[in-house]
């Protein structure tokens, strides 16, 4: 006799109605979750199916062929993305960590609040506006689109992501560690870098990976800073530089101060061209980009969860 309690007691209709409303609405929320998953599954499966067909070794190591011709690859975009993301990482990561430490030590001061607030604002500024800003600051004065300008705007995109996640992670480090280190006579900077940062390392790395994922997928800020360049080829520049006896500086200049392509930029351009070969290739670019972004994301989160479980038993 332990069946449905409502059936036994013969409750007034209003109770039954409340129970039904509850079940129906809660069921509906489950349905919305399934609906929300549909676009993701649709995109992932379709990009894999369509992208897989055009991906081969040539796709990674060859420059694009002339428009309308078959074959060729997108090595220019892959190399450009790597160069710009490295530039962004070199600039954004140390800066973000310093800011995160500032927020850790001075959380409630007036400047601390202002910094946290402007970090939030920076993450909310539309990427296209950051692109215009980058154009005004790094392109207009030099009259030259460049990988450096692209890297700098990507650093601006990365910065707030890494600051906020690092701050959260640094905050989790127990106070006693810092106090212990200071009590042993270590200066504050040594304590920060070799005790607190090391203790929070896995979380900080996760934040950095999320920042990289964000930066590598951004298109809008690159439109007016990196512009795009179907002949961008770092290895080509180095080979040519060695052959013509250029100095290291000249080669670097060539790599960083030329207009540059990037994966999302190439995807955007190829997707809208009337040549079917290029549209096909854009699916390949989408696949590479999506795998990079999703793997960075999933990797970062899974790694953090795994490390956490390891340390907390």
């Amino acid at each position: 006799m332990n069946g449905d309690i409502f059936a036994q007691v013969n409750l007034p209709r209003v109770y039954r109605r409340r129970k039904w409303v509850n079940n129906i609405i809660l069921g509906l929320t489950g349905l919305t979750v399934i609906l929300a998953g549909i676009p993701l599954v649709w995109i992932v499966i379709y990009v894999i199916l369509k992208g897989w067909r055009v991906i081969n070794l040539d796709f990674f190591i060859h420059l694009p062929t002339a428009m309308g011709a078959t074959g060729g690859g997108v090595t220019n975009a892959i190399q450009g993305s790597i160069v710009m993301v490295i530039v962004a990482a070199i600039i954004a990561i140390p800066l973000a960590l310093l800011i995160a430490f500032y927020l850790l030590y001075y959380p409630q001061t007036r400047l601390g609040v202002a910094i946290r607030f402007s970090t939030d604002l920076l993450s909310g500024v539309p990427s296209i506006v950051i692109g215009i800003f980058g154009y005004a600051l790094f392109v207009l004065p030099f009259k030259h689109f460049s990988a450096l300008a692209g890297g700098l705007v990507l650093a601006m995109i990365m910065l707030p992501v890494v600051v906020r996640s690092s701050e959260e992670m640094l905050k989790l480090v127990p106070k006693e560690l810092r106090e212990g280190s200071l009590a042993l006579g270590a200066p504050e900077w040594k304590t920060s870098l070799s005790v607190i940062l090391v203790a929070a390392m896995e979380g900080v790395v996760t934040g950095i990976m999320l920042g990289l994922a964000r930066a590598i997928g951004e298109t809008a800020p690159l439109l007016f800073t990196a512009l795009g360049n179907e002949h961008y080829d770092v290895f080509g520049y180095i080979k040519q530089g060695i052959a013509t006896n250029q100095s290291l500086w000249e080669i670097f200049h060539k790599i960083l101060a030329e207009p540059t392509d990037a994966l999302p930029l190439t995807l955007w351009k190829y997707a809208q061209q009337p040549y079917p070969e290029r549209v096909e290739q854009s699916w390949g670019v989408a696949l590479v980009l999506m795998l990079l972004v999703l793997l960075l994301n999933i990797g970062a989160r899974t790694w953090l969860a795994w490390k956490r479980r390891q340390t907390h038993g």
């Binding site: 809660l26 970090t119 604002l121 800003f133 005004a136 994922a213 999302p264 995807l267």
Partner: protein, 333 residues
């Protein structure tokens, strides 16, 4: 012997004094922390300053008429006359539709994630929300052009055009026909719906999770069903946080560039109808800035960036304030 000892002492003394002067390096450390933190503040101010300064020619030429819906001038690079209203309208209408659709939807998703999901499902579902937010905007655009528009947007648009489009008052907004490719403001709005859902859902979920358990227990103990607890206790408690989430989503939607640029068609000929192509503020910049025909043209585009910047700054500020308020309220002080 005494000679070497004094030398040693001297050296040590210098090191000691230097160490004391720099506070064993901490002076530099604090200076570095302070400097880099100031940098981010300066960066935000500089973005505002640059777009303000570079839009000066356009601001002087058009004044407030630039953003006025009633100005006679349209967006016309050939004549060097610029009025941003078509783009502002495009941004507002696409974001508004996206929010109307995404808000109930993402609150439902958040309720499921925070209140109902069994522990086994919680992690994968949270991953799913993060992934939806992480997929780059261009990939949404590519998927939009070749799959979402012809398969989903076009049928919906055709249905709207045959139902709402024939009602006299509404035909301005739902007048057809929708292009066969599906490229329209509706397409942009629907893609934005998908793109802002994870943002709103994630923040709402966090707001709900921040509400103490005792509130739920009290309500359930009084005999309320789970839904009544959510509807009458949790949602009102988290209201300002949820509002913050919605405004954050609005900021995202209005600033979203690439996916919208790829599906909205980029013409000013579509008028008010959502079934026709159009512009948004972000898409007009992405589409025209590289090929601006005159200095005034690029200045006008930068003025649109200024409008976008101001709007998103205000929206973000309000949303952070609201979310902070609900956190302070629920965490206790």
């Amino acid at each position: 012997m005494s000679n070497t000892q004094s030398l040693f002492q001297q050296k040590n003394d210098l090191r000691h004094r230097l160490g004391r002067f720099t506070n064993h390096g901490d002076r530099f450390w604090v200076a570095a922390l302070f400097g880099s933190s100031l940098l981010i503040l300066i960066l935000v101010l500089m973005i505002g300053w640059e777009v303000w300064a570079l839009s000066a020619p356009s601001r002087h030429a058009f004044g407030w008429a630039f953003i006025s819906p009633w100005a006679k001038a349209a967006w016309n690079p050939a004549l060097d006359r610029f009025n941003a209203w078509p783009a502002i309208y495009g941004s507002l209408v696409t974001s508004a539709i996206a929010l109307v659709l995404a808000v109930p939807f993402s609150i439902a998703v958040a309720i499921f994630l925070a209140e109902l999901a069994p522990p086994l499902l919680r992690t994968p579902l949270n991953y799913m929300v993060e992934m939806l937010a992480a997929v780059p905007s261009v990939i949404y655009g590519l998927w939009g052009i070749y799959l979402f528009l012809p398969k989903v947007v076009h049928p919906i648009g055709a249905a709207l055009q045959n139902t709402l489009g024939v009602i006299p008052g509404l035909s301005t907004f739902f007048g057809g026909p929708i292009p066969a490719s599906g490229i329209s403001k509706l397409a942009a709005a629907l893609i934005l719906t998908i793109m802002v859902t994870p943002t709103i859902a994630a923040v709402t979920r966090d707001v709900l999770l921040a509400i103490p358990r005792s509130q739920r227990e009290a309500s359930l103990a009084l005999g309320a069903t789970q839904w009544e607890t959510i509807w009458k206790v949790l949602l009102p408690m988290g209201l300002s946080g949820i509002l913050g989430a919605v405004i954050l989503g609005f900021g995202r939607a209005i600033g979203e560039t690439m996916a919208v640029t790829m599906v909205i068609g980029n013409t000013s000929g579509g008028g008010y109808s959502v079934l026709k192509p159009g512009y948004t503020m972000a898409s007009i910049i992405a589409n025209e800035f590289a090929e601006a025909v005159s200095d005034l043209h690029s200045s006008a585009l930068i003025e649109i960036a200024l409008v976008l910047f101001v709007v998103t700054i205000i929206l973000n500020a309000i949303s952070r304030w609201l979310v902070m308020r609900v956190q302070r309220k629920t965490m206790g002080r």
